[in-house]
């Protein structure tokens, strides 16, 4: 114990206690999440809890994003400056009390002194960067309310100014202490010490106590107010990321509608289908909303928002949060959220592309929340988007959203003069080729289907198709909130698939792929599923396919949301293209690629209806392709193919640019003699 120990007056502890009590009282904001429904699928795994908490909470891995370099630096300085000072202050407090003296560092050692000052400077630098963004550079999507804003006490900038005051006050209090007491290692306080030299010791002596109290009280005030301000995210985000189940993250949760309908006990009159009030969300979903830091990264990358649609994923989160708090801490009454603060058009604008989830630093799950509210609109209210309701009805009656006759499901093959094996006759094959509705009925995708057959034949693959027994997987229906239709399709397809023997399902469409692979297991449909790009890549590596022509010109690749972001398949299609390219430099990446890819606009059921507002996503994307200098853009998704081809026509670029499917590129490069 050294001589500079402050004799904190007793009422300091009283104030500290009051601050802490108020702090703990307002932690009820976290507890508000318990108003939600339990999530039977979430099991807390202690290992994952700590790994997530450390990786995404303490070390904030997601904050460091390629697209958000400035805020990443800002947040690094701010957060680590804050953490270190928090640690130092705690040590300081204990040392002052004489607690744990044997374990704690001495305050006036060189390393502790210099670390403290460095941290203080980091904090101030981070705060200034944050303030500059909010008051001067003002990125368009970022909230920059000065002192109020969306329920946060002191708003976006007020709390930063407050922290600045706290940090500067800290340096002055330190300088006064150094000047007055001249502790050992004083020169290692490399900011506080020079500061102390600016004024005569007599002045410091005069103000020392005032400065100390000013800093002490502002620190206690900060603690007391923290849960009411934007800084609450320090706690909420930590809890939220630690509790995230990263395997299930972003996946839609099944409702098991058919079980519900057969359950004689179910109270059908009062059952809630989908979500229209915050309490109807799962608890973890509410925690997501509570943890939102309003960093606006989700909204910045959202293709719907970028193209001027009335959707901001951040607003979805904050609206849920405000609704929750109003219900829990207000008069207890819960008004509808959907149709009031969150409009139907906002909900229908989402393509479920997942860009928001990929960027969110606190691992929020926007897509399941949006789909839950869509479920309410469709299942409870019977209000799908007007244009989409026909394709939903058609999916039920004909098994495909185009509404074309079920009996024509193999017409693409007969039209192409192909006689292909079907499971109803063959019963067994190595590969079940899942053609998909687009492959069966859309003229562009029919060419892909034919290419697939050429590839299977050339590689001598033992394959068969389901033919008229195949039905829509229900991907669009599910994302449009029509869980009942999705389940009907899923159960029907699973029933069909279980009747035949095969090793693997291969499909060209990422939507079919995602549904079959990730969503059918919940209904006991467990299959090995491969996207065609993975399958072809393996065929080429195994020497079973030997493309003999090469691709000329400059080729680029458009990552499909449901292949890339939702399933992490980035390299297989690039590998395939790489094998076919004449020159190394023949491949160009688009500026927005891999997880940063920009949606074509058709996901989430948006293939089947248009949102009037704003511009078109596919045009936005094709313009990017045009600027890249590529003359071929390869894609690996049925919807992307249709959307990009449409965009080409809108831009009148049919002669200068080609949109091709991976399967088509491969089939075209095969030796002609093998058909």
């Amino acid at each position: 114990m050294h001589e500079f120990k402050y004799a904190y007056p007793a009422y300091f502890y009283l104030v500290a206690l009051a601050a802490l009590l108020y702090f703990f009282y307002n932690l009820r904001k976290l507890w508000a999440a318990s108003a939600g429904k339990p999530d039977p699928a979430v099991k807390i795994n202690i290992g994952e809890f700590f790994i997530n908490g450390l990786t995404f909470g303490i070390f904030q891995r997601r904050v460091f994003s390629r697209r958000f370099a400035y805020p990443a630096l800002m947040h690094f300085l701010l957060a680590w400056g804050f953490f270190i000072l928090f640690f130092a202050t705690t040590v300081d407090f204990f040392v002052a009390r004489g607690w744990f003296a044997d374990f704690l560092p001495q305050l006036d050692t060189p390393w502790f002194a210099s670390l403290n000052d460095t941290a203080g400077l980091m904090l101030i630098a981070g705060l200034l960067l944050a303030l500059y963004r909010r008051m001067f550079s003002k990125p368009e999507k970022l909230p920059h309310d000065l002192f109020s804003g969306r329920g946060n006490f002191l708003g976006d900038s007020g709390i930063i100014l407050f922290l600045l005051l706290l940090a500067l006050g800290g340096f002055f209090a330190e300088a006064a202490r150094l000047a007055v007491y001249q502790p050992p290692a004083v020169e290692y306080s490399w900011i506080g010490y020079p500061l102390s030299a600016l004024f005569p010791v007599s002045s410091w002596r005069q103000f020392e106590l005032i400065l100390w109290w000013f800093h002490a009280l502002s620190a206690l005030l900060f603690i007391a107010l923290l849960p009411l301000t934007k800084m609450f995210h320090i706690l909420a985000a930590l809890v939220n990321v630690a509790l995230t189940n990263r395997q299930l993250r972003g996946r839609l949760r099944p409702m098991f509608v058919s079980r519900l309908m057969e359950d004689p006990e179910a109270d059908l009159e009062n059952i809630s289908l989908g979500v229209s009030r915050s309490r109807e969300f799962r608890r973890k979903q509410l925690l997501d909303a509570i943890a939102c830091t309003e960093c606006a990264r989700c909204t910045t990358v959202c293709p719907a928002n970028t193209t001027g649609k009335p959707l901001s994923p951040m607003k979805i989160m904050t609206d849920i949060r405000e609704h929750l708090y109003a219900g829990q801490f207000g008069n207890g009454e819960q008004k509808d959220l959907v149709g009031a603060t969150i409009t139907e058009t906002e909900l229908w604008s989402c393509t479920t592309c997942g860009a928001c989830m990929a960027e969110c630093p606190v691992l929020n799950e926007h897509v399941p929340a949006i789909v839950d509210m869509r479920r309410y609109l469709v299942l409870s209210e019977g209000k799908p988007p007007e244009q989409a309701s026909e394709s939903l009805e058609k999916t039920l009656s004909t098994g495909n959203p185009w509404g074309l006759p079920k009996s024509n499901r193999l017409k693409w093959a007969t039209d192409a003069g192909l006689d292909i094996p079907v499971f109803s006759e063959k019963k067994k094959a190595d590969v079940l080729y899942w053609v998909g509705c687009a492959g069966a009925y859309d003229p562009l995708n029919q060419q892909v289907a034919v290419s697939m057959i050429r590839i299977f034949e050339a590689a001598g693959v033992d394959y068969a198709v389901l033919g008229t027994e195949e039905s829509c997987t229900g991907d669009s229906a599910r994302r449009l909130g029509e869980e009942y239709l999705f389940e009907t399709m899923a159960l029907q397809n699973i029933d069909t698939l279980n009747r035949y023997e095969f090793e693997v399902i291969v499909t060209p469409c990422p939507h079919c792929f995602n549904t079959l692979k990730n969503e059918y297991p919940a209904f006991d449909g467990n299959y090995r599923v491969m996207h065609h790009s993975e399958f072809i890549s393996e065929l080429i590596s195994a020497g079973k396919l030997s493309p003999d022509k090469t691709l000329s010109g400059r080729v680029t690749y458009h990552d499909a949301c449901y292949l890339g972001r939702h399933n992490q398949i980035y390299s297989a299609p690039r590998n395939v293209l790489g094998k076919l390219l004449k020159t190394e430099g023949g491949f160009t990446e688009l500026p927005r690629h891999h997880a940063d890819s920009f949606c074509c606009g058709a996901g989430g059921g948006n293939m089947w209806h248009d949102i009037e507002a704003g511009s078109r996503m596919n045009v936005n994307r094709i313009e990017e392709v045009m600027h890249s200098g590529a003359d071929t853009v390869a894609t690996a998704c049925s919807f992307c193919l249709i959307m990009l081809d449409d965009a080409l026509k809108i831009k009148g670029q049919e002669d200068t640019l080609k949109v091709l499917y991976i399967a088509q590129v491969v089939a075209d490069s095969l030796p002609a003699s093998r058909k």
């Binding site: 509608v257 289908l273 299942l379 019977g382």
Partner: protein, 258 residues
């Protein structure tokens, strides 16, 4: 207000048309069945009126077993109960016969309004709603493209005339209205509706329940065939008089339209 909506199950527009061996019906394989389009508008109009002014909506169809589905769909959308008239004897009835059966079944219900689609997508006769009105002795209006509630005893309807003309008419209850498509936006059946549907009553009626010795019918399908697309152009030449003589001869004796 108590209203009834007549609904028919028809093949979906994109279904393959293959004539069955009996030559008077279609092969059912490959056909996906659906609710007749204008009937959906009729149902929606009845539901909208009920939601605004109260009352009951009953749906009624004549059809094969599969046609029960259109009743269920209507109940899921919000109709209160269903009447399902089915019997193999009724399979090939014309509009007159169907109207006679409807009249028999619906008479005792004393509906204020009977809605039906303007015409069916498969036979396109546009008759049933009208003949039914005659059987029941009620007012009727066809091609209704708008309705306006007056009071518990009458309704105003907007009828579509030729060439973009419309006409508002007031009808006293009871009345039969045949509804034109586009009058409203038919709703989508919600899952909640489907769940509640399971508890709604559907009465099934077969020929034994009807007090009809014989079902009247005025027309009968002799043979169905896919129209052959042929083009035969005959040039008539000569003096104007000769052309006129030849033309009238052809119209009278060959084409038989005069």
């Amino acid at each position: 207000m108590k209203s009834c909506v007549l609904i028919k199950q028809v093949p979906d527009g994109d279904s393959p048309v293959v004539i069955a061996d009996d030559q008077v019906s279609l092969k059912s394989a490959g056909i996906s069945w659906t609710t007749n389009e204008t009937d959906s508008y009729a149902l929606e109009e009845a539901l909208l009126l009920k939601e605004a002014h109260g009352g009951e909506v009953v749906v009624c169809t004549i059809g094969k077993d599969s046609a029960l589905q259109v009743v269920k769909d209507a109940l899921a959308k919000g109709a209160d109960r269903g009447i399902f008239i089915t019997d193999p004897q009724f399979d090939h009835l014309d509009s007159y016969g169907k109207a006679a059966i409807f009249a028999q079944v619906l008479k005792a219900e004393n509906f204020d309004l009977i809605f039906s689609g303007l015409q069916s997508d498969n036979s396109s006769n546009a008759q049933t709603g009208l003949i039914l009105a005659e059987f029941l002795g009620t007012a009727h209006a066809t091609m209704v493209i708008g309705t306006e509630w007056v009071d518990d005893s009458k309704i105003k309807v907007n009828r579509e005339l030729e060439a973009g003309w419309f006409r508002w008419t007031e009808l006293d209850f009871p009345a039969s209205l045949t509804i034109q498509s586009g009058i409203n936006k038919p709703r989508y059946a919600s899952l909640r509706g489907i769940m509640l549907m399971k508890k709604k009553p559907i009465t099934t009626i077969t020929s034994g329940d009807l007090k009809m010795d014989e079902i009247p019918t005025l027309s009968r399908i002799k043979k169905l065939y896919i129209p052959r697309k042929t083009k035969e152009t005959v040039f008539i030449s000569g003096s104007p008089e000769e052309i006129v003589t030849q033309l009238t001869d052809k119209l009278e004796n060959e084409i038989k339209v005069l």
